[in-house]
């Protein structure tokens, strides 16, 4: 076969008949779809199922300058045994902390099912040299973190230097070794759903085990429509390659009702296969007590005072 002349570099040639391009997102329609899924009415045993699942999927988070080993001790105890008065409430999936607190967290969760996740890569801005980020990731993994939550270089992404973003994720993934990599897109800085989709596909192509909406450090964090856009990108990757990538909405999820809405959206977009902490996490710092309160309400038929739930 004659060889076709090469395209000038920088041109993308759709050689596959399927999904030859990244595609786009219609803002109005995706927001409508997300709103309509949020109107599902989840009651009784279906609600108990969702609340229980929400606990299992939770990344209990503290990312403050004032975090100390003492704070981490309280958080991990809560993570392992969220409701001391009810043994049937499961442990959360993981605690999510800053690198310096990883050793304390690892020490406290030993022997339990709770994993330790650490943010890294110059979290939350990501504005540091790649070498520094890679070194940071190596260290948190050495200290025993099971999961690494990295941030993408939004500056590079928004200026169109996608290769820089991609290469960095690839290097971080390599530095993670066996640790799971969650890639934070920081959707609040990406500006459009089209960008969110593009960044999602980029992160997955570069090896992300999970894609995650936000750092939680911006007022605009996870929303239902932005999470839907990311779930649909995950679905496309799964359909094309068979690879299952996880999803983690984070930031702004404070109430059980929201958690249930996120799970309904997950259920109806990616199906029951994804209803596992291996493929879905809810990043939250204040959600847990509201979920516990709802679980107790479903079990006893009445609401308890917040005084009965520990503040950790």
């Amino acid at each position: 076969m004659a060889k076709a002349p090469a395209l000038p570099s920088g041109f993308e040639l759709p050689l596959e008949p399927r999904l030859p391009r990244i595609g786009s997102i219609d803002q109005v329609a995706v927001e409508e779809r997300a709103a309509s899924l949020a109107r599902r009415s989840i009651k009784r045993e279906a609600k108990v199922f969702a609340l229980d699942l929400a606990v299992r999927m939770m990344d209990l988070t503290t990312l403050e300058g004032q975090d100390t080993p003492g704070k981490i001790a309280a958080l991990t105890s809560k993570a392992i045994r969220p409701d001391p008065s009810d043994a049937s409430v499961p442990s959360v999936a993981a605690v999510c902390v800053y690198p310096n607190l990883v050793p304390a967290a690892v020490e406290r969760v030993r022997g339990s099912s709770v994993k330790v996740a650490s943010v890294a890569t110059a979290f939350p801005s990501g504005q540091s040299p790649t070498s520094v980020k890679v070194a940071e990731v190596r260290e948190v993994v050495d200290m025993g973190a099971d999961e690494v939550d990295m941030v993408i270089d939004r500056g590079a992404f928004l200026s169109g230097r996608y290769a820089k973003v991609y290469d960095e994720i690839v290097q971080i993934k390599e530095a993670c070794g066996d640790a799971h990599l969650k890639v934070i897109l920081e959707v609040g800085e990406l500006g459009t759903y089209d960008n969110v989709r593009r960044a999602s596909l980029l992160a997955m192509a570069a090896g992300a085990d999970f894609i995650k909406t936000s750092t939680g450090k911006l007022p605009q964090a996870a929303t239902l429509p932005v999470t839907l856009v990311m779930l649909e990108a995950i679905r496309d990757v799964h359909e094309e390659t068979g690879r299952k990538v996880g999803m983690k909405p984070a930031g702004g999820i404070r109430q059980s009702k929201q958690a249930v809405q996120y799970l309904v959206q997950l259920h109806e977009t990616l199906g029951t296969e994804w209803l596992t902490p291996d493929l879905y996490r809810l990043g939250a710092s204040t959600l847990l007590n509201d979920v516990l309160m709802q679980i107790r309400k479903e079990k006893t038929g009445r609401y308890q005072s917040p005084d009965y739930f520990t503040i950790d």
Binding site: P17, R18, L19, P20, G23, S24, I25, D26, V28, A29, V30, E32, R33, R39, R40, S41, I42, K43, R44, E45, A46, K47, F49, A50, L53, R56, S77, I80, R81, A87, P90, S91, R108, G111, S112, S113, E232, E239, H267, E268, T272, L275, T276, P277
Partner: protein, 498 residues
């Protein structure tokens, strides 16, 4: 840490998540055993002496008996409307008319849950649709036309708009209350009086609406509601003292009405069937386009005259679109219309179910490939699984005839010209959809498609300010917007100069 705290308690994740039933309570609706005809402000026994049962299509339960209007009843209703027209409604101040319309709109909003439940009960549509679409839109139509009532001089400047007189309005069963609002609101705003005949299978919300009219203290006879089958409609069309007929329904009946009215001088508007093309270009936002396809054809069980029943997909994205669509269909929840999580409700009647079944059978026989998601249907009632036909040729009946059910026929195209040609290759011309990221293509397609409504990157979206109506055999005349007033006003043909 204690041993208790160290316990491994991650249980295996259950493999499915079934939503518990979440039914809307029907206690809010109080039904009479029997309903008469609403004539001259009173519900009265039909002179015909005839009643017929009205059902819940999701359970086949008889909800109530309603009167069958005979010729004498129709005559009484027309007289009541004429009397109300001559003695008040056409001459009271327009602001006064607006007052009643605003009242009706507000009462509809206040009683919206009651109406939504009854609409779903009697018609089979999911409560989320009657609650979020039918009721808000019905109220919005009354609000919108209430605003026009005292501004007709501005709507038709220098043309001295006057009411037409007595209007006979015949509406279908797919959006019983919404179609009532589309018909009654502009007619009253312009100073006409009305005899409304709801569809045979769905009379109950119209009869409940009679109660709203009493609550609003609308003068007797301004709106009369007569129930019954096609015979009642035929009597109304024939009645010599009716000045205008507005009909929404099948093309077949529409044609018969037009023949009947030829030469009588009565005014006529028809809003008839459709076989709309929903056109997906390869640059469209695919997941949202798939939502639009679903909303286009499975909304209200496909009982929508403007339903996007013919899907035209550009060949280069055919596979992913069909895969995504099939996958999406597996998540549609078919069942109890009163359950808040139901996406697709019951087919409106046995007769309609049989028609759908017959056409679907013809599609299979003609060689189209059928796909239906796994779906457990209730044992009683009228149900049809959401269906997609692929490998459909333009010549198949399922590509030509209006099915009026949850059945989609998929065709492909290669170029914009071919899409236009195929989309227009139908006797109908009510609506169309275009899905593309390219604004210029939206504009060029909209101008080339022979359809009264062209939606771009959305589907089945309605607003009282926007006119709606058809080309070709989909009818003539417009409802909604300023255009929706025209059929109900008489204007000076030549401009009056001061």
């Amino acid at each position: 840490m204690t041993d208790l705290e160290r316990r491994q308690d991650r249980a295996p994740v259950p493999s499915s998540w079934d939503y518990a039933p979440a039914p809307e309570s029907r206690d809010i609706v109080t039904l009479e055993e029997r309903y008469g005809l609403f004539i001259g402000g009173e519900l009265a026994e039909p002179k015909s002496g005839e009643y017929f049962p009205t059902l819940s299509p999701s359970t086949e339960e008889v909800l109530a008996e309603v009167g069958q209007a005979g010729p004498e009843d129709v005559d009484l209703a027309v007289r009541a409307a004429r009397d109300a027209y001559e003695n008040g409604w056409s001459t009271i101040s327009p602001a006064e008319r607006a007052k009643y319309l605003f009242r009706i709109a507000r009462i509809l909003q206040e009683r919206s849950r009651e109406f939504a439940v009854l609409e779903s009960l009697n018609g089979g549509k999911p409560i989320k649709e009657s609650r979020d679409v039918d009721l808000p839109l019905a109220a919005a139509h009354f609000f919108y036309y209430a605003g026009w009532a005292d501004k007709l001089e501005y709507a038709f400047p220098n043309r001295r708009p006057r009411p037409v007189g007595v209007a006979g309005q015949i509406i279908p069963w797919n959006f019983p209350l919404l179609m009532l609002a589309w018909k009654i609101a502009p007619a009253l705003a312009a100073g006409n009086t009305v005899i409304l005949k709801p569809a045979e299978t769905t009379p109950l919300t119209a009869l409940l609406f009679a109660d709203v009219l009493r609550q609003a203290e609308l003068p007797p006879g301004v709106v009369n509601i007569i129930t019954g089958d096609g015979r009642a409609g035929a009597e109304l069309v024939k009645h010599p003292d009716v000045d205008k007929i507005a009909f929404t329904g099948s093309t077949e009946v529409g044609k018969a009405i037009q023949r009947e009215l030829a030469g009588t001088g009565k005014r006529l508007t028809l809003e008839l069937g459709g076989k709309a093309a929903n056109i997906i270009f390869d640059d469209a936002a695919l997941d949202q386009a798939v939502e639009g396809i679903v909303n286009g054809i499975y909304f209200n069980q496909g009982h929508v005259c403007c339903a996007g029943s013919r899907l035209l997909v550009q060949e280069s994205i055919y596979e992913p679109v069909i895969e995504k669509l099939k996958r999406r269909l597996t998540t549609l929840r078919v069942g109890d219309p009163l359950d808040k999580n139901t996406d697709v409700g019951a087919i409106n009647s046995k007769q309609q179910l049989e028609k759908i079944e017959e056409l679907v059978k013809s599609g299979e026989e003609e060689g189209a490939e059928i796909y239906q998601p796994p779906c457990r249907l209730p044992e009683k009632g009228y149900w049809f699984v959401p269906t997609v036909f692929t490998n459909v040729a333009q010549s198949y009946r399922i590509a030509q005839e209006e099915i009026f059910g949850p059945v989609l026929s998929v065709l492909t195209f290669r170029t914009p010209d071919e899409a236009v040609e195929k989309a227009n290759n139908t006797p109908y011309g009510l609506s169309a959809g275009v899905w593309t990221e390219k604004g210029s293509r939206i504009l060029s397609m909209a101008s080339r498609l022979e359809a009264g409504v062209v939606w771009a990157n959305t589907y089945n979206r309605f607003d009282p300010t926007s006119p709606f109506g058809g080309y070709k055999e989909s009818g003539f005349g417009r409802e909604g917007g300023l255009h929706g007033l025209e059929p109900y006003v008489d204007v000076e043909e030549s401009e009056v100069r001061g």
